[in-house]
Amino acid sequence: MARVVLQHVTKRFGDVVAVNDLSLEVFDREFLVLLGPSGCGKSTALRMIAGLEVPTEGTIRIGDRVVDDVEPKDRNVAMVFQSYALYPHMTVRKNIEFPLKTRKVPVEERERLVLAAAETLGLEPLLERKPAHLSGGQRQRVALARAIVRRPDVFLMDEPLSNLDAKLRVQTRAELVELQRRLEATIVYVTHDQVEAMTMGHRIAIMSDGVLQQVGPPQAVYEKPGNLFVARFIGNPAMNTVTGPVIADGEGLAIAVGASRVPLPSAYAKAITAAGLTGVVVGVRPEHLHLAPDGLLPATVSAVESLGHERHVICRLEDGQMVIVRQPSSDQAPGEGSWVRLATELHHLHLFDVASELRIEPA
């Protein structure tokens, strides 16, 4: 197993910049998730690590080797494609065997390794079948077996779960995590599903429009999103964001929402004045908001969605901005159209600069 280092990697396709100055290190034996919406460059980055695309600028290292001009076959990486890319004309056994055959591994050892890989993934009864006669989940496991059979330095996975149905996805997620632990493998895993990212990765690297937004352990990224994009992307339902101008409010600062004021903690006030910011976006996760008669922010209830174990109350603020409140079902449900007041603890607030969208740290 080995680490992967990308240094200032950029990839241009004509005028389009798919990956923009990406610098990222994947530690040895780490499960790193590359997360982002479609078109953010994560797949391109993965393909560059595999060697299927050549970076326009920058360097990539696998282990301690610079691999910029090394062919995919010589990089000792294994890749699991979104569509699995199984060879339809070969049996499961031959599919798994293929990477060993190309490396001229002798027959007995080949058989041994293929069998071992098949056992690890529970594929023994399927070895003589062809991909057309396998279910989606089985095909995915064959793709995995083909990847692990030759003990590569790095595993690259491109949205491997997206073609599975929901239940299978949950099950396979756990299996993949277990597999990584057992093999002590370095895995770079691309997905657009933040639930996968949060549950599987040691660290998450979030990308948008080719630019790396933030890297860190899931919990850290959840609790301290570095910018508005990350804040809105992680968490389901997404973090509420309320935008407003900064105004003086007594001795401190507050943001104006309609006629109401959301006071800003003094620690932040200093940072804001120091940077001369005029507009601020306040972020609060839905689970940190509650309805209280003495709450600071008035709103009207626009809709109430009951999910069984919890309720989502969708509220409209005075200036029209929308906000979601998560409350346990045991709480009293508000009526639609009723007036409520929203409250939260100040330490649950995240503050971002309207202009740069970056997180504001307390001074």
């Binding site: 595999a50 299927l52 076959k73 890749m79 569509s83 890319a85 060879y87 339809p88 293929f98 083909r146």
Partner: protein, 325 residues
């Protein structure tokens, strides 16, 4: 809801329970087998099929079956005399004649010359043009350009190119004596070259489409798995291309056996009958010898051979085709 004029109240009542328009409706799953609607649909369907079936009947099936029958009648050497029923004798005589055997050999030889080489070339060009290079579109257009050429066009062009006086081959140093198209040993090869060139565009487009239908990820997976370009081609690309190649072989063989125009324009079956393929033989028997009976027998032979060949190809080759998804 509207009801067609002629169905009347009875018709409307009969179809109660089905909330659709009665006249010429699009088929619904339910409905009884021979109700008015069913009958109407049937009638309409047959009506639609009649034009095609009529043409097929008169110009395809009737001639096809009559041809076998015609073979039973020996055409007299002088016009005006009646034809004579000889049963299978004519079949036997014609099919065992040296002329026929030679022609058969020539036809098979021609097919062997054109089909494998044509497919290999088309495939090779398609693979080369499948890369992501700038301006590859121009090359692809050029490679498919021969599709605009007909057999007559190709024959006239090459006829002149091979000509010892005005042709360019002699200038390039290739100057066999006698000249290619008049050379008993080389004439068939010459015609084969012309045919391969003329069908190159078609084969190229066919192979290119086949290549494009192979998901790129298949090749990428093979690259990551460690396969070099040759191995990828033999183990991944080619097997996945086998349905297309199979199609090309079957259709190509059928067309090879139906070669006619080039022979008529360039060699007229010669020199020394070395390019007398079956189709041309049928033509000369019909037009020059005026021997309808013999021509019919030859045509039956041609059909049978093509049919059997296709069957064999389906049996033997299709087994090795991977209809993978």
């Amino acid at each position: 809801m509207t009801y067609s004029g002629d169905s009347g109240t009875l018709g409307a009542l009969a179809d109660l329970g089905e909330a659709d328009q009665v006249e010429g409706e699009i088929p619904r799953r339910r409905g009884r087998r021979f109700g008015r609607r069913r009958m109407r649909e049937m009638g309409f369907a047959y009506l639609l099929l009649i034009p095609s079936l009529f043409i097929f009947g008169v110009f395809v099936f009737y001639p096809f079956f009559r041809n076998f029958y015609l073979g039973f009648y020996k055409t007299p050497p002088f016009p005006g005399l009646p034809t004579r029923y000889v049963g299978f004798d004519q079949y036997r005589d014609v099919l065992s004649s040296q002329d026929f055997i030679d022609s058969l050999k020539t036809t098979v030889g021609f097919a062997l010359l054109t089909v494998p080489a044509g497919i290999a070339l088309g495939l090779g060009l398609a693979v080369l043009a499948h890369q992501q290079l700038k301006g590859i579109g121009i090359y692809r257009t050029i490679f498919s350009s021969t599709i605009a050429t007909s057999v007559a066009v190709a024959s006239v062009i090459f006829g002149t190119l091979f000509n010892p006086v005005v042709g360019l081959l002699p200038w390039l140093g290739i100057n066999p004596q006698p000249p290619i198209l008049e050379n008993p040993d080389l004439a068939l090869i010459g015609v084969a070259i012309i045919t391969i060139w003329q069908t190159l565009g078609l084969t190229f487009i066919l192979m290119s489409s086949g290549l494009q239908s192979i998901p790129e990820e298949m090749d990428e997976a093979a690259r990551v798995d460690g396969a070099g370009p040759w191995r990828r081609f033999w183990r991944v690309t080619l097997p996945l291309l086998s349905p297309t190649i199979f199609f090309a072989v079957v259709v190509g063989s059928i067309f090879a056996f139906q070669t006619f125009g080039q022979i008529d324009i360039l060699t007229q079956g010669g020199p020394l009958k070395r390019t007398n393929v079956l189709t041309y033989f049928v033509y000369t028997t019909l037009r020059q010898d005026n021997n309808d009976g013999k021509a019919a027998v030859l045509a039956v032979a041609l059909f049978s051979i093509t049919f059997v060949l296709t069957l064999i190809q389906m049996r033997v080759l299709e087994r090795r085709v991977h209809y993978g998804r």
